[in-house]
Symmetry: C2
Subunit: 236 residues, 2 copies
Amino acid sequence: MTVSGRDELLQQRLGHRFQRPELLRRALTHRSYGAEHNERLEFLGDAVLSLAVSRLLFDRFGDSDEGDLTRVRAHLVREDSLHKAALQLHLPEVLRMSEGEAKGGGAQRASILADAMEAVIGAVYLDGGLEAAQGLVQQLFGEVITSTTAESWRKDAKTELQEWLQGRRLPVPSYRIVATRGQAHAQTFEVECAVPSLGKAQTGEGRSRRAAEQEAAQKMLALLQAEDGGRPGARD
Amino acid sequence: MTVSGRDELLQQRLGHRFQRPELLRRALTHRSYGAEHNERLEFLGDAVLSLAVSRLLFDRFGDSDEGDLTRVRAHLVREDSLHKAALQLHLPEVLRMSEGEAKGGGAQRASILADAMEAVIGAVYLDGGLEAAQGLVQQLFGEVITSTTAESWRKDAKTELQEWLQGRRLPVPSYRIVATRGQAHAQTFEVECAVPSLGKAQTGEGRSRRAAEQEAAQKMLALLQAEDGGRPGARD
């Protein structure tokens, strides 16, 4: 298929026809290919995605508190969600990168695809405004969002932390209430999540013990993943 | 002054007249005051702010790479910047909170004011769309952004890390190049920032040694602050 034929197909899949097709081309260009690469668009797209997802969640979960919404948002904007979306749009077929990068399997790397996905969202925003970008994000993540409940995501933080630790042959975390505040019917719980084998503890707050545990688990996970991501080569 | 007089003044300061004034009122209501509090608006406002600042930076710093833009953005959306903006708008005078919280000085707490500032940005977005919110963010942060250079922010990460450590009577960090990649004129440096007293190391990448050091320092700082923020009471 010709390049323009592929671009045409992609624009159909995106549900957006570009006024400035050079923006789309740039979004699909890895830095190994040349100076006109997609990293600045990725920076912008990251923020566009976050707002578009926030708006979808805000409208969908009218009863959920900020903590739940933040957790679901973090889940949706993670690399693996973006990677899946990139595959759904067949981005590996249209990415431009250096020969070396391509031979090394670059077009299949989750981090490269997730970055390109964000850049495409940024390009749609620059070309068609927030509404156009919102439409794309709705198309990519809308089904996941409408088919879920805030509770089902909340379950994930503790499970995910446990799996993360088990994957590294580390003991499971422990949880304990460190404080309760307020009156009987409006109590706030503060729970500590500890991973003694790593010498780390994080606390979370919530209207129930369960919610507080989930927040603490979420923070611990974020901390461990941040540290993990800082090691050379840990991301790929 | 009457409540409506104060609301009127605030809307003048915001440069936005609300179609739905209940959104503004909600944005100014701390959770201690009642069920109709501002936390969900804060969730939304956080993402609106991030996109609005990203767009300002994207347009202003046409030559800066993603790493620099991300660093400047992180700087601008921090609690202390939001706190300053809240004071500029005189938010302490219009915040609604429980008597207990008010007597405890809640209306002066940086975290409560920063959260309310985000909630107000979220309310303006819901009421008037992204353009209205973008206008407010431009008014609050535009001068800081236009009067600065990407380099001046970049300097901050290393300095800030050093100050953070010194504030805790810890030794300064050390930096060393762990890898260089690419050809002579297009090298990428990988630098490690180590804080042996805490048993921690983070790596950063950049087109120069200096840029890589800054990225490593930024990551280390984010890590240390995340751990610090996880401790009970550390935020206030």
